[in-house]
Subunit: 221 residues, 2 copies
């Protein structure tokens, strides 16, 4: 049945961007409400009081459903966007990676808000958890690599796991503001380019200036 989608989030990439990237990749029309003031009315519509929130409207009956939790929204839109692998095992592996990417993001936000002096916090991040996770993601691409083919986390075509990883890597690259961040990660670097070029609408969006701002700019300054 025909449905309309509205994605509510702060005017930031952070935990709201991956869902939108998935929709853009698959040509799923999603209207965004990007706000700077998270007002009470909206907050009350969110089951756990948090955004992102996806409002799904049935175009025939007008009935609406509210979906929260970024990963639940991403998986829902990935089904509409054709970005879910076909077998149950590959579906589970995709979700496993999405959950791992989410941990990576939770860890960096936690370090960012640790109260530590900026340079010290960045140094610890880069030598500790960031290295752990980037080593892991590079190794997953190595493990799933086949000759003469693009790089994917799961199976042999792009899935929502790839988009979620791409989104987190864009944030890392911004955050650390270092051209050589990818020096130790040749496959991750290649992977990002391949994801960027994997759909015309996606490429157009990610290279446009219409994206919300990235998070945690203080680390970059």
């Amino acid at each position: 049945m025909p449905e309309s989608y509205t994605l509510h989030y702060f005017n930031l990439q952070a935990r709201g961007e991956a869902a939108y990237l998935i929709a853009v990749h698959g040509g799923v029309p999603v209207t965004r409400n990007l706000f700077s003031d998270f007002n009470k009315d909206l907050k009350e519509k969110c089951p756990f009081g948090q955004v992102p929130l996806l409002v799904v409207q049935d175009d025939v009956s007008g009935a609406t459903a509210h979906i929260v939790q970024s990963i639940a929204i991403c998986e829902f839109l990935a089904k509409k966007a054709g970005l879910i692998p076909t077998s149950h095992v590959e579906q589970a592996i995709a979700l496993q990676y999405v959950l791992g990417v989410d941990e990576f993001r939770t860890e960096v936000y936690s370090q960012y808000y640790s109260g530590k002096e900026t340079q010290q916090a960045k140094k610890e991040w880069k030598e500790g958890k960031m290295k752990f996770f980037l080593d892991k993601f590079e190794s997953f691409l190595v493990g799933n690599k086949k000759e003469d083919r693009d790089l994917f986390l799961v199976g042999s075509s792009i899935s929502w796991a790839d988009i979620c990883l791409y989104d987190a890597l864009v944030e890392q690259a911004f955050l650390l503001d270092e051209d050589n961040l990818w020096g130790n990660y040749p496959l991750l670097k290649k992977f990002m380019k391949q994801v960027e070029n994997s759909s015309e609408s996606f490429k157009q969006y990610v290279t446009s200036s219409s994206k919300p701002v990235l998070y945690m700019k203080n680390w970059r300054q």
Copy 2:
């Protein structure tokens, strides 16, 4: 195709039990390897170095796949167990609740390891985040309640979200060791009984003495 499943986890309920409960509920045969020593060989098989790990073996080819992250394992087994709602919207809402239950669990483990004096930590938990989450879950049951029907988080039949919530509530009840914990939550209390009685194999397992021990026993002492 026929598959065999082995679930590896510490000899504890914690983050390993919900997956097993889902399998038991749906009659999916899962062998468990419950260990006290997380050895290096097994750790190396886990993509992020963490359990739970579900090993899926194709009974024809003998090929194996490794799935980690408790929520990915739960969703995979829920598909085999017939515990996934039918529509995309209800599937997303189920996952949203599973992710919320996981946050609830993460918060209590974090408070448990906060280094605060036991009674103080428990008091803060009960008056803060525990109250927040139990109020939420009670309200979700109220919101989805229909006359003359059992209580479910999503739709009108039991789903993996209900099993995951049940599992977390069992842990809470143990943890706080208070008969009156459910005084403010009549629907959660009723819900737990209904989940327990919703499948013969499930009821048999949860009332047996063959379950692993519960986590965080210090708060109970």
